[in-house]
């Protein structure tokens, strides 16, 4: 049923209890039916929490609610029986105080703008999207601030390959927010499960780390694709971490974030696991396949592809020298041959390894 929404009136009139009649009947809403969104929803549902998902297509909602599968994004996995999904954004958003947004960066703004129609100020909104918006270079939490009334915002990031999580492997993740309530809400939802949530304050660093590691994963994938071994991958991971940190510091991040789960933790997982989408794209690029063909054959988004363009644009404006970013950009968006990229990277004059770190 559609509720007639009178725009001239506040969505809730305050009384002494601030319009508490809203009565949330779920513990968590997950916006987005991709692999990680589904994994997060399933984990919470499996942890005795009442969860509702919003997905764009009604057929997908029906599949999740009735057949308890999400074949397109998590083939072969059974979802918890009481996990519900809907394509009605209003119903989903009004159901829970805590909302996780797991939407690719490309459509993040459009979806959060819809979300903004129904969100209220008491709700906690956390996103798990690892990317930057192209052209505006906005972080996802900034988009949430620009599109909705939410203030209690956080970012979820860390080494979390959806398939491993669905397989029940123990994993950990970082929830970063300036609001204690946000950090606490998420820890309550996942407390006691096999998914450990650590908390931090540095939203900027967490988001930058999450976005940036996909670029390094593309580079490592390409190295694997070209037949190089672990030395090369390790070189890329370490120097990628250095670039990530340098980039993050100019954005106001805390240097320690990059040494934690959301930084080096996620970097190691994404750059070494064949399950990583960005890594997979990198491998195929390294073998010389054109980008368009690779993307055509994929059902899921490899965030590193748009992110490397956003980061490179931004770094150029700030006169930052990020060789790996430039190399990956040349490989992905300028159709440079993998061997030429590697030659270019290896010919850069050497410098001080730890020059990036602030020292007293």
């Amino acid at each position: 049923m559609m509720i007639d929404h009178d725009k001239s009136q506040p969505r809730h009139q305050y009384g002494k209890t601030g319009g508490a009649d809203r009565g949330y009947d779920r513990d968590l809403t997950v916006v987005g039916g991709g692999s990680f969104g589904t994994a997060l929803a399933s984990l919470a549902a499996g942890n005795d929490k009442k969860v509702i998902m919003w997905v764009r297509r009604p057929e997908q909602a029906a599949e999740i609610s009735e057949q308890h599968t999400n074949e397109r994004y998590l083939p072969g996995h059974d979802l918890p029986g009481d996990l519900q999904a809907t394509s009605d954004m209003e119903r989903a958003v009004r159901a829970s105080r805590t909302v996780i947004v797991a939407i690719p960066s490309k459509s993040f703004r459009a979806v959060t703008s819809m979300l903004g129609e129904y969100l209220t100020g008491d709700q906690v909104v956390v996103h798990s999207t690892k990317g930057l918006e192209l052209n505006t270079h906005r972080r996802m939490s900034e988009i949430l601030t620009e599109e909705t009334c939410a203030k209690k915002i956080g970012a979820l990031s860390g080494p979390n390959l959806a398939k491993e999580i669905m397989g029940g492997d123990p994993a950990g993740c970082l929830v970063a927010s300036r609001f204690a309530e946000v950090r606490h809400s998420l820890q309550v939802i996942y407390g006691g499960s096999r998914f450990r949530l650590y908390s931090g304050h540095d939203v900027v660093g967490t988001e930058i780390a999450g976005a940036f590691k996909n670029i390094v994963a593309l580079a490592c994938g390409a190295a694997h694709g070209m037949g190089f071994g672990q030395n090369t991958v390790s070189l890329l991971i370490t120097r990628g971490l250095s670039e990530m940190t340098r980039f993050g510091l100019t954005m106001g991040a805390n240097v320690f974030t990059f040494g934690g789960l959301a930084g080096v933790g996620d970097l190691v997982a994404t750059c070494t696991s064949p399950l990583s989408r960005n890594h997979k794209v990198g491998v195929r690029l390294g073998k010389g396949e054109p980008l368009a063909e690779i993307l055509d054959s994929m059902t899921q988004v490899a965030e590193g592809v748009p992110t490397v363009a956003a980061v490179q644009q931004f770094a150029k404006q700030r006169h930052l020298n990020l060789p790996i970013v430039n190399g990956v950009h040349a490989l992905v968006h300028e159709a440079m041959k993998p061997n030429d990229v590697m030659r270019l990277l290896m010919s850069i004059p050497v410098g001080q390894e730890l020059a990036v770190l602030p020292h007293g």
């Binding site: 009139q13 319009g19 809203r22 100020g121 203030k151 609001f179 309530e181």
Partner: protein
Amino acid sequence: MDPEHREELIVEVVQRVLDRQARDDRSAEQALFDTLYHERRRLEHHPDEHGSEASFYDRIYSEATKAAPGRHRELLRKVLQQFANEVDGHFDRRVYAMATKAVPVALNVLLNTLSPLRLVETIQARLAGSADVVDDIGLAGQIEISGHTEQVKRLARIGTTILVPTHSSNLDSVLIGFALHQLGLPPYTYGAGLNLFANPVVGFFIGHLGAYTVDRRKTAPTYKDLLKTYAGATMETGYHNLFFPGGTRGRSGAVEHKLKLGLLGMGLNAYINNLLAGRRRPDIFVVPATINYQLVLEAETLIDDHLKATGKSRYIIEDDEFSRPRRILDFMTKLFSLHSKIDIVVSRPMDVFGNPVDDEGRSLDPKGRIIDRSRYVLTNDVIGHEPQRDREYTRELARSVGEAFHRDTLIKSTNLVSYAAFQALKHKNPKTGLYRLLRSSTERSVSVKDLYRHMEQTHHRVLDLAQAGRVRIDDTVRSQDTVAIVGEALAHLGSYHSNPAIVRKANRILYPDPKLVLYYGNRLSGFGLDDLEA
């Protein structure tokens, strides 16, 4: 307002501070001795004239050292009571109530006292029987008020407003008082530093325009807590409040971006208390404003203080231009003779979370959708204070206020030309550090051509910023060419200050006081013009 109300307010304020600072015997004892330490040390450095304060604190100290644990709380109450009486001392509610009519007269008398010429004109006009003469003469001609004035007038009727202007001069509070009258708004309650009373003429008016007293020499945390609580309590009681969120007058000349969160946060605190008390009109609206001068009365002292070994600037300045009536007179005379306008820009009002509000006082989200702001303070469906959450909300508010300050800053010719002139100087001396540049610039100069070149670049960028709504500009900057803008700026910068900031000699621009050039140009820092800097 009846005196009984005042009693109630003070009792409430003292009790709230006591509840926070003296939760148990141990914290009461600690807060008491800490306060006594700060107060007695203050009196050592600044003895009071009659010695009555010193004997009061000696007495309390003597009792405190002998007191049983439970008694410290009562002694602390006595001290807080003393603080509250001092703070509230100048705040005469009868005057506050009738000040709506008194403000314009008072201010004009003030300015006419400062300007004998004006006084003569006023008398002549009065004799000639002109109506509304009080408003037409003096300040009215010099001050331009623009921005969201109508909305603020509406909101002041349906809720309590907190006016938070930028702060560069002690004249600010006088001008704001005048602007409030011009807008038909009642006077605003505000905390005036004791140093404002150093100027005998201004001190008299300030003391009677709804001001309560802030003694910055008092450093005890309990005193600071009491001040904040007092301001919050007046907000809850429905008094419109005025304070400068930058804390003190900006020293560098730049638009303030680091704002004090303590007082700003009292708006949210009062809002929550109002909701909890079920008040009919619980709403508190925050109204940023910018005060824009072509010349700043105390510019020399302020920039000097800013440049004194970074971080060691004086919090209290009592011996500046403002304490010398003669200097204020010179200043006013210069402004009048140069037809210089002081612009007050009233920003769009916002709620205590930093969201914009509409004409009816409803909060809007970034997309202009109406939202219920009371939901921000719900925890598990119950309204309440959450210190950690509320601090973050206040940080958001401060960010919104800071953005409004920048957006509504009005750039004048002195700012533009000073910025360009300083860039030209730096460009010519690329290897000279800032302090050396400022120290030994008597022999420094640039060609007029160089200044014009830097001016054109800066002007172009500032016009773009204004076009994008990121800053405001005055008519001269908007419509005049480089030569005219430089001409107007030189007339100002070369006239009022002890030494001219810059002067033109034939085809050279000289820098008799480069610090002032830095000061006026700094207004343009924080607008992303860094790439113009050599």
